[in-house]
Subunit: 262 residues, 2 copies
């Protein structure tokens, strides 16, 4: 398929690489910032633009991977610009990749549209194996479905249909299981650094904590002072955080929450 | 070495198996509860007891893996009982395995003592590879050091000396990197279950989140709405948790904390 990527962030970069590898033809990369657009365009060996009025109108699929709050404006500008330059919207499918944005953000702007949500944490510096990424798709009609399903299955072996309503909760779960988890790692790293202890000693523990929930439910996998309700340890550890009231509050709320769910 | 295990919980179970595998002679298992003592004793093929006055007085090393708040009382009872039954404390080394308890908990109770802290999350149902567990040791004299170091190195390739003062912070970091992380998994599981979505779809994300911090610092690895400060998503996700004020408060505090550290 001929594809234009709108956005050149972490997700667009990893998705662009996977699409190119799968044999799709990336016509162009758009980003608000020239350096991002050019960096991804160089990787994908295609032109870059920072101007939505110059978007290539020959693509089969336009994939928008941009900040949620910019999505509505960019869709309006993009479809307007394609129509103005003689593009036929009835031949195109428009997709966004946002976990928390409804599919209907495209409504009345384009005839065929959908959502392509690959649930993973993407960093530009890190290549991921797209084939095992659970990818959740939603579509408004058969034209969108056919093209979206083919596109998704060309890069992932794990493609599932999911409604806007359920995707919101999936995305919320992903924030807990990834972003908040990573922040806990970051807090641990900060405590260790303050005491000149290397973060690397945490890795076997981090790995086992992740591996464990392949075999046990997180509820059954829980260990440590909070689930044992070892008040001495909880009070002593909370006191160690006395110089950072925000962190101390988080420590106490998380400990209470673990105990309440135990 | 001839070893008596005081405690039969998650850590004692995994440690006992590793010690037996390394060729040590487990003389006896003590636990306050008969079923725990007998279950571990059966695995280790040794006698069980629930009575500290019947502890075998022939061991070289006594390892206490019990709740922190019980530690002082059990040490007092144990050493008293060993002396009463004719055991010579000068020939024995006493160890505990608690991250947050000082080594000095043994002071004036026994001549040779130390701490053996294997930093890992242990569940009885799950066997772990002890050889890669970072194990932190502390000792009060050369007798304790010699025996403790030999014991630790017989089961782990990663043995480091660590003071009581630093171990407290290491343990606190471990609570963040493991127990709080696992609680975030558990919260994700709860949200998914409420919407009839399987937890298994989270595993590739959980695995990549853990793998990422082998290559990037947690700070550089962060992604998601909070670090982008995507206020629309944060507000919408917070609203999804409106029926659980505790969870909502945690969501907002964690999001703010990520943004503040970004």
């Amino acid at each position: 398929m001929k594809i234009v990527l709108i956005g050149a962030g972490n997700l667009a970069t990893n998705l662009g690489k996977a699409l190119k590898k799968a044999g799709h033809d990336i016509l162009q990369v758009y980003s608000r910032t020239a350096t991002s657009a050019e960096a991804l365009a160089a990787i994908l060996d295609c032109p870059a633009t920072t101007d939505l009025t110059t978007i290539d109108n020959r693509a089969d699929v336009y994939i928008l991977s941009i900040k949620d709050k910019a999505l509505r404006d960019v869709i309006a500008e993009l479809t307007h610009s394609l129509t103005s330059s003689g593009g036929d919207l009835t031949e195109k499918v428009f997709l966004h990749t946002a976990g928390s944005m409804p599919m209907d953000v495209f409504k009345d702007k384009a005839p065929h549209y959908g959502v392509f949500y690959p649930m993973q944490t993407f960093s530009k510096a890190r290549e991921v194996d797209f084939s095992i990424i659970p990818t959740f798709i939603e579509w408004n009609d058969e034209t969108a479905h056919t093209r979206l399903a083919a596109l998704a299955q060309s890069i992932s072996r794990c493609v599932y249909p999911l409604s806007t309503a359920d995707r919101k909760y999936l995305h919320l779960s992903a924030v807990w299981a990834c972003n908040f988890v990573n922040h806990c790692y970051d807090i641990a790293a900060g405590i260790l650094a303050a005491h000149h202890l290397p973060f690397d000693v945490m890795l076997p523990l981090i790995d086992e904590t992740a591996r464990k929930v392949h075999a046990l439910s997180p509820h059954d996998a829980q260990t440590g002072p909070a689930v044992r309700y070892d008040e001495n340890v909880i009070a002593a550890q909370s006191a160690l955080l006395a110089d950072d009231p925000e962190l101390r509050q988080l420590y106490e709320l998380l400990s209470k929450s673990i105990h309440r769910h135990a």
